[in-house]
Amino acid sequence: MAREAAVPLELEEIRPPSMPVLRRVLLLSRQHPLGVFGLVVVLGLFFCGIFADVVAPYDPQAIDQDAILEAPSPSHPFGTDRLGRDVLSRTIFGARISLMIGVVSVGFGIVIGTFLGVVSGYSGKLVDTIIQRFVDMILAFPPVVLLLAIITVIGDDDSAFRKFLSNNTPLPEGSFLGVPVFLDIFVISVGIGIAIAVGSARIIRGAVLSIKENVYIDAARTLGASDARIMAHHIFPNVAALVVILASITLPIAILAEAAISFLGVGVPAPTPSWGGDLTGRNYQAALEGHWWPAFFPGAALSLVVLGFNMLGDAFRDISDPRLRGGPGLGPSSGPGGSRGSRGL
């Protein structure tokens, strides 16, 4: 794990230092056209998510009685849904919701996972056993089932967790950062974040176990550094690259997870645009009656984004894995969490 994490270093080893950065980037992008495609898609997601207000031609929730279930046309490129809402605008705003949930849940999950992983791996003994048995228990649940269970329980209007959040924290019930129903979105993110935290804690613990055998850890201890200091200043910087990689792998998983539970009717509540939620209910009924567009485009956007992340990840792995460096495009290896993870949910 630790070796794969050291991406920038290995890149510098294979390229002579004299080569200008721009040329190096060009060379890499010519070797990995699919990776470039992935990068463009991912950047597009961030762009649409952040600038949704500017990019979207209509208000995603504006109802237009005169334009119900219109087929795609120049004025509505993706058509309109059963309430006359513009599907293109809803798809663009869906990117914002997906991105928000992705970023919050990955942030939440990775921070907790890193903390648990570092503490568990470094402390060993009883602390390690307790944390790892707990992780075992959570991993014993199939991911979607766990997610559905957690979100049903903590996401309900009457749940103690939700009441606690809305009464005792400054988290707004309504719109925040351009996201309507922020509290619901936050609760969903916490649910997904728990699943991410557990998985990443296990991986990071593994990396920490090998790092703590290094001599410089002994040296630091001999100099009288406290455990907290060693974990923060000597262990954490060495897993930081792995943490970044884990975050980039789990982001599309989180987006897929949100779409899946919204599709099942447990996620983002109805009028808010969501790629998963827009595929279900009345849009699905409309699709069965031949009006395919309201359910087609949000799903297409979702697939494209996940595809982009996967291709970017594959290219990244090809570049960073020394065993595959030889010829261009030799084998997608079963890297950390790669394919299994993104489908696991």
Partner: protein, 318 residues
């Protein structure tokens, strides 16, 4: 080997106890008051009190936990609070064959799609065939089940005027009418299978590349064996070991996927049952089903580990 099996089976006991406790905590403690959630919209105090009393929520938590666990061990999974009030086990009897058939078909299909593609891609690396299979596998990995399912149903109806038979009639067992049964299950299983097939394909490919470099493969070549024999008999046998492991580990994803695919394709299996229970906040049913899913998942992971030890004699567990 026998000691290993016995030890692994005994290790299951604390894990399952922990899992049951965790399930119990998720559903009884986190929500604050499970009765309020179950009761839902338009709830009156009398109904609330009745639900509390009926489900023993007015007793201490350890008694509730003990009762629930004891019930589950005896095969009593509780009853639904919906109008029908059917016991969970009755529903399971009816629905398990559907989910079972779906999962078995999915695994068979993903192996049929994944293994040959992976082998072909590995023995002709960096050819258009290889690029095509690899691109397809990334594509299949990225398309979510529910969207693919909707596309098949929508465009099946639009272009071919065909709708899966379960949208008009209920489940038809294979023995009654194989043709209708296959129509009911082919596409749901395919939708579930493509993602797993892609994983299997990628894994088969890298395992084959690894195995083809071995000395015994060179020996097989130099004996003058045909390529077919070398690849499919000598190499594939060893390359399949990790593939079987990973296929077994997909059971968790399959269980989650069945929840989604069964609701897209209107199959009245266990997955759809869980979802319906969740949507009407039937928490006591969901609690028991969650525990069962976790048990199936843990047991299948154990089976994978044991199969691994059995298939590969080089692996010996101390």
């Amino acid at each position: 080997m026998r000691d290993y099996i016995i030890r692994r089976v005994f290790l299951l006991v604390p894990i399952m106890l922990g899992v049951s406790l965790l399930t119990f905590l998720i559903f009884r403690v986190i929500p604050g008051d499970a009765a309020v959630l179950t009761c839902g919209f338009g709830c009156t105090d009398e109904v609330l009190e009745a639900i509390r009393h009926e489900n023993g929520l007015d007793r201490p938590w350890y008694e509730q936990y003990g009762d629930w666990l004891w019930g589950v061990l005896r095969g009593d999974l509780g009853e639904s609070v919906s109008e029908s009030q059917l016991p969970v086990t009755t529903e399971l009897d009816r629905r398990l064959p559907i989910t079972g058939e779906l999962l078995i078909m999915t695994i068979i299909m993903s192996l049929i799609l994944g293994v040959p593609a992976g082998v072909l891609s590995a023995i002709r690396p960096n050819t258009p065939l290889d690029w095509l299979t690899r691109f397809t596998s990334v594509l299949w990995l990225s398309i979510p089940h529910f969207w693919l399912g909707i596309l098949i149903i929508t465009f099946g109806a639009l272009w071919f005027g065909w709708t899966p038979p379960q949208f008009g009639q209920s489940y038809v067992p294979f023995m009654d009418d194989p043709w209708i049964n296959m129509q009911q299950f082919f596409f749901p299983a395919l939708v579930l299978a493509v993602g797993i097939a892609a994983t299997i394909m990628r894994l088969t490919r890298s395992a084959m590349l690894e195995v083809m470099r071995n000395d015994y493969i060179r020996t097989a070549w130099s004996k003058g064996l045909r390529e077919r024999t070398v690849v499919w008999r000598h190499a594939l046998k060893n390359a399949l070991i990790p593939v079987i492991t990973v296929t077994g580990l997909q059971v968790g994803a399959l269980i989650g996927g069945s929840v989604i695919v069964e609701s897209v394709f209107n199959l009245n299996g266990v997955g759809k049952y869980v979802l319906e229970a969740i949507l009407r906040r039937d928490l006591f049913v969901v609690q028991s089903l969650t525990l069962i899913f976790a048990a199936v998942y843990v047991l299948s992971n154990l089976a994978v580990d044991l199969a691994y030890a059995w298939l590969d004699p080089r692996i010996r567990y101390a």
